[in-house]
C-alpha cells in the first residue's frame, strides 16, 4: 500500500467486524472504531497484504493463525494475580456455596485452572479463598493448574513473580503470601506453592484431561477462543467430562459458550455468566 495514511472504509470495517463477531462474539462499537482500525492496519502491514480485500481473504483462509494474531491485537493477554477478580468473587460468594450444598465438612473440593500459564491464576484462587471464603478450612480443597507448555509449568512451580504480576495485590497480601527475593522479585511461600499441583495437559487430548479426574469448578479462560470449530467441540466435551454433575466452568470475559458448544447450561451469578454441567437426573 503506497498511501501515507491508508484508510479502511466503513464497509470494510463492518465486513471484518461481522466476521470476528461470528467467530468470537466480540462486538466492536463505534466508540472503538478508530482503535480497531489501527490494529487491522497493523496486521495488513504485518502480513504484507496489498489491500484490505487481500488481507480479509487471507484472514478467512485460516493460514498461519492470522485470526489468532488479530484477536491478540485487541485483547490484553497479560496474566497477573487477581485478573478478572469478579469471577473469583463469584467463586467464593456463589459457586462454592452451591457445590457444598451437597457436601459434608471434610469433603473434597477440586478446582482446575487450565491453561494455568505461569501460575498466576491457580495461586490467585488459593489466595482468594484463604482471604475471602469463610468455609475455607471446612473442606479439603485441591487446586490443580495445567498447561500444554512445560516451560510455563516449570515457572509456575518455581512460583517467582515480578512487580507487574503482583500489581493488583495489596502490599498486605504480598507480605502475607510471598517472600521477597532480590531485585523486585517475589516468591510464593512454600506452603502455598506445595498446595497447588501442576500438570501438563493438552485440552484436546481426552486421555490427558481425563487423567486429572473430575472437578467442582474449572477456570478455562482465554484459550477456547483461539481453537477452530472441531477443536472447540472436542475441548468442550473434555471439559464437560472433567466436571462433576452440577459443576461450573468459567470462561474469559469476552468468551461465550455460544461460540463453542451446546453442552452447558448458562447461569448468571453476581453479574457474571457462568456455565454448568447439568445435575444428574434421579433415575
Amino acid at each position: 500500500m503506497a498511501d501515507a495514511a491508508p484508510q479502511i472504509t466503513e464497509d470494510e470495517f463492518r465486513r471484518l467486524a461481522d466476521f470476528l463477531y461470528r467467530r468470537t462474539g466480540m462486538v466492536f462499537t463505534e466508540a472503538k472504531r478508530y482503535y480497531v482500525e489501527r490494529r487491522i492496519l497493523d496486521r495488513i502491514v504485518a502480513t504484507s497484504s496489498q489491500s484490505f480485500a487481500a488481507y480479509f481473504a487471507y484472514l478467512r483462509s485460516g493460514l498461519r493463525d492470522e485470526v489468532e494474531h488479530l484477536i491478540n491485537a485487541f485483547t490484553v493477554n497479560e496474566t497477573y494475580f487477581y485478573r478478572e477478580d469478579h469471577q473469583l468473587a463469584c467463586l467464593s460468594a456463589d459457586l462454592l456455596k452451591e457445590r457444598v450444598a451437597t457436601k459434608k465438612p471434610g469433603d473434597a473440593i477440586r478446582i482446575w485452572s487450565i491453561p494455568c500459564s505461569t501460575g498466576e491464576e491457580p495461586y490467585s484462587i488459593a489466595i482468594w479463598l484463604l482471604e475471602n471464603w469463610k468455609d475455607v478450612d471446612a473442606y479439603d480443597i485441591e487446586i490443580v493448574g495445567s498447561d500444554i507448555d512445560t516451560r510455563v509449568l516449570d515457572a509456575a512451580m518455581e512460583g517467582v513473580f515480578g512487580k507487574r504480576a503482583l500489581m493488583r495485590l495489596s502490599s498486605e497480601l504480598i507480605g502475607r503470601y510471598f517472600h521477597e527475593l532480590d531485585d523486585e522479585r517475589w516468591q510464593i511461600l512454600d506452603d502455598l506453592r506445595q498446595s497447588v499441583r501442576f500438570s501438563r495437559v493438552n485440552l484436546i487430548e481426552t486421555k490427558e484431561t481425563r487423567a486429572q479426574g473430575r472437578f467442582d469448578v474449572i477456570f478455562c479462560r482465554n484459550v477456547l477462543i483461539y481453537f477452530d470449530d472441531e477443536s472447540r467441540r472436542i475441548a468442550a466435551e473434555n471439559l464437560y467430562d472433567s466436571l462433576l454433575p452440577g459443576g461450573f466452568i468459567c470462561l474469559g470475559h469476552t468468551e461465550s459458550m455460544s461460540r463453542i458448544s451446546p453442552l452447558f447450561e448458562v447461569c448468571r451469578y453476581s453479574g457474571a455468566i457462568v456455565y454448568r454441567r447439568p445435575q444428574e437426573l434421579r433415575a
Binding site: R22, S258, R259, S261, P262
Partner: protein
C-alpha cells in the same frame, strides 16, 4: 447513559444481514437494538441486561429458536416472561403450534417487511404474557 423511556429489543438470528435489516427498521422507530446469533447467546444477553422484547429465528446453530424459548420459559426468572416473537421461513400449521407450545407470543413468516416488523414490535413491547 441509558434512556429508560426507550424500549430495548434483542434480535436473535444467525444471519448478519437479517439482524442489520431488522435493526434498521427498529432503530428508525426509536427502539434500542442488541443482537445475538444463536439461542445460547440470546439467553446470555437476556440474563445480563434488561429487554422489553425478543425476536428470535427458528433455525440457528448451537441452540435453535424453539430450544431457546423452552429454556427461557423454564428458567422461572423475571426475564422468563418477556414477550417473544418467533420468525421462520416455514408457514406450516404444526410449526406455528409448536411455537405456541414453546411459549411464543407471535409467529412471523419470512420474508418480513420492515414496516410489519416495526408494527409488531411496537404492539408487543411491554405486552403481558
Amino acid at each position: 447513559m441509558s434512556d429508560v423511556s426507550r424500549k430495548r429489543i434483542l434480535v436473535i438470528d444467525d444471519a448478519a444481514l437479517v439482524r442489520t435489516y431488522y435493526r434498521a427498521a427498529l432503530e428508525a422507530r426509536g427502539f434500542v437494538v442488541e443482537e445475538a446469533l444463536n439461542g445460547l447467546e440470546g439467553l446470555e444477553k437476556l440474563l445480563l441486561e434488561p429487554f422489553d422484547l425478543a425476536i428470535v429465528d427458528v433455525n440457528m446453530p448451537r441452540m435453535d429458536g424453539m430450544t431457546f424459548l423452552q429454556t427461557l420459559r423454564a428458567k422461572e426468572l423475571p426475564v422468563s416472561g418477556i414477550p417473544v416473537l418467533v420468525t421462520s421461513t416455514e408457514a406450516k400449521a404444526q410449526d406455528l403450534a409448536a411455537a405456541r407450545r414453546a411459549g411464543a407470543n407471535y409467529y412471523l413468516v419470512k420474508p418480513i417487511s420492515q414496516e410489519m416488523l416495526a408494527e409488531y414490535a411496537a404492539m408487543f413491547c411491554g405486552a403481558p404474557r
